[in-house]
């Protein structure tokens, strides 16, 4: 992007531009995919909270496997579902670092269920950004643990059936029940209002770590127009009409006052 264009002229302020932690390059994501929004908010917070220089991230497997091409922080690529375990190793080795994972629904809520549950339960001082788009994106639109009842995917072509495949998993509700969780919320990326609210949740999930309170978790309802076989505008409407009623938005757990989840790891916030 030519930098000349970004200079503010007299009488105006540049109020929206690329955060420093976000690489200046086109993403590989499909048109209307919400990963780009989540990436941008993540990068904005790393800038705003002055964390980027001391961050070590654990990336995951799925469409967001290339997170490290966009978020300019030190990153280790984790095996499928294991990012919370890798993040645990990072944080225990270097408690002075800011550590986050960024995982999709197949990665976090299916193959990585044990790792996310126990990372939260131990109260690891790490932050998990969970992008829920109800489908395996990278591999071509297979059924995910969060696929809605009746939703057609390439491996449930007749629509997800509760009798055969069970119900969609509500992760924010589950994580909020665990003792080590200091902050847990579900936001959505389908509207400007929800995006702004989601960023506030992300900030609180970051702060759960930087204040040494415990495990921070934020779920983001996101669109996958390609694998939903919808155009981006219709995909956003699907989030509003079908996903939010099943996956209600809001804060599911927030520690009050000076509560923490115990002094498990020395370092952050002390």
């Amino acid at each position: 992007m030519p930098k000349a264009n970004t200079a503010a002229q007299a009488g105006e302020d540049l109020v929206f531009t690329r955060p420093n932690a976000l690489a200046d390059r086109a993403t590989h994501y499909c048109p209307g995919c919400h990963h780009g929004i989540a990436h941008r908010m993540l990068a904005e917070l790393l800038d705003e909270m002055d964390l980027a220089g001391r961050t070590v991230a654990a990336s995951s497997i799925g469409c967001s496997v290339f997170l490290y091409n966009y978020i300019q922080v030190d990153t280790v690529e984790s095996p499928h579902g294991r990012a919370p375990a890798v993040a645990t190793g990072i944080k225990r080795a270097r408690p002075d670092k800011f550590v986050f994972t960024y995982q999709g629904d197949g990665d976090l809520a299916s193959i990585g269920m044990a790792e996310i549950m126990h990372c939260a339960n131990r109260g690891e001082r790490v932050t998990v950004v969970f992008v829920n788009n109800t489908v395996y994106g990278m591999t071509g639109g297979q059924m995910a643990p969060t696929t809605l009842i009746g939703q057609k995917t390439t491996t449930c072509p007749g629509g997800r059936c509760q009798d055969r495949e069970g119900s969609p998993i509500r992760m924010a509700e589950i994580i909020s029940q665990l003792g080590g969780t200091a902050f847990c919320a579900r936001g959505s990326l389908d509207s400007v209002k929800n995006i702004r609210q989601a960023k506030k949740y992300m900030r609180q999930a970051f702060e759960a770590q930087t204040k040494g309170l415990g495990f921070g978790f934020v779920e983001l309802l996101s669109g996958c127009p390609t694998n939903w076989r919808l155009n981006p505008v219709a995909a956003n409407k699907r989030i509003t009409d079908e996903m939010i009623p099943y996956f209600p938005l809001g804060v599911y757990k927030e520690l009050s006052g000076d509560d923490t989840c115990g002094a498990l790891v020395a370092g952050e916030g002390k």
Partner: protein, 359 residues
């Protein structure tokens, strides 16, 4: 006290844990499984006392991935397990090999396949020396036959892991782990704070000047990228050939050389010693590094006209490497102790004599 001439009486498992502690290991990630539980139990006290971290993970899968996270930060870290647990760790081990993350991994081999038993076995030789998980990679594999060697090899494994940016495997078994023996410890050392500074993850602002972000990964999709990475790994494995270690015992004038490693190597040594007293010209060759395998040393013995008998506590795995090593001049016979049976020196004398008598 550690570092003096005083000998302490410990289990092999404890010796391994002490070796790691004294080498500056500061993160341990474990999961209970017999017969290696003394290692995490020791570390659960030793790590916090040394200002490090101990985590009992939710699974061996998670423990190995925690190891990967700590290793990526350039911190000396270790995990330990036994055979069924090792199967679960292979995913992360493959990623660590592929993304060149240093770490030390201990396998106290038990009987298999499946749940097997909790007794000693060498059934994981192939898994250990062929990489163990998916893809083309190797681990440095060290096989102690005593508590002292278990201590020394684990101590040295951290330097090797960081020198070569690779996981290093200590392959023992239930005998090595559970047997109590005197050992001498070295003075405890701390890891060099600069270790891994050129590649470790610590944030882009950790140095004097901000730097570009670092990525530790094993995914290489661009044209030629993966082939380049495999070539780099292959060159690394080739460079390990100089690290070969082995023990030769009474081989100089031996007609028959027994090849055995780990606990079996030690038991076979007793059998060889007993047969020497009876005037039999037999010797022992004990690989201490299983990868790299001491193929040149074995080939030299073969060229001298010696014959070979491989004794293993499995159905015949290392014998393939022995045969490959000596193939230009000789072959190797094989005597197996089935996992589930406990070997003794007496069991080995008859097969050694049989092999010696066959010309």
């Amino acid at each position: 006290m550690a570092g003096t001439n005083e000998r302490i009486f410990v289990k092999g498992n404890e010796a391994i844990a002490m070796g790691a502690l004294d080498a500056g290991c500061r993160c341990f990630f474990g999961y209970p499984i017999t017969p290696q539980n003394d290692i995490p139990e020791f570390m659960s006290k030793a790590m916090p006392a040394a200002g490090g971290e101990f985590v009992q993970a939710e699974s061996e899968v998670a423990a190995a991935n925690m190891l990967m996270g700590a290793g990526a930060c350039g911190v000396r870290a270790m995990t330990s397990s036994s055979s069924p647990g090792m199967s679960l760790k292979q995913e992360a081990i493959s990623y660590m090999a592929g993304s060149e993350i240093p770490a030390v991994i201990v396998n106290m081999n038990r009987g298999g396949p499946g749940l097997g038993d909790i007794g000693p076995s060498q059934g994981d030789y192939f898994q250990s020396t062929r990489g163990g998980g998916h893809g083309d990679y190797r681990l440095l594999v060290l096989a102690p036959s005593s508590a002292q060697e278990a201590y020394d090899m684990t101590h040295g494994a951290f330097d090797l892991a960081f020198t070569y940016r690779s996981p290093v495997l200590i392959l023992g078994d239930a005998i090595i782990g559970q047997m109590k023996e005197p050992i001498k410890r070295r003075a405890a050392t701390l890891a060099d704070p600069a270790e891994g500074r050129e590649w470790r993850l610590e944030g882009t602002g950790a140095g004097k000047k901000p730097r570009a972000h670092r990525i530790i990964k094993s995914l290489f999709l661009m044209d030629g990228e993966l082939a380049g990475q495999n070539q780099k790994l292959q060159a690394k494995y080739e460079s390990w050939k100089d690290l070969v270690q082995f023990e030769s015992f009474e081989v100089r004038d031996a007609e028959l050389v027994v090849v055995a490693y780990g606990s079996i190597g030690r038991i076979a040594k007793n059998a060889v010693r007993a047969l020497r007293k009876k005037g039999k010209k037999v010797g022992l060759f004990r690989p201490k590094t299983l990868y790299p395998f001491p193929e040149k040393a074995l080939a030299k013995l073969a060229k001298e006209g010696k014959r070979f008998l491989t004794i293993e506590h499995n159905l015949g795995q290392m014998v393939e490497d022995v045969r490959l090593s000596v193939r230009r001049h000789a072959d190797s016979e094989l005597f197996c102790v089935y996992p589930g049976n406990m070997p003794s020196p007496d069991d080995f004398e008859a097969p050694i004599l049989r092999a010696l008598g066959r010309k």
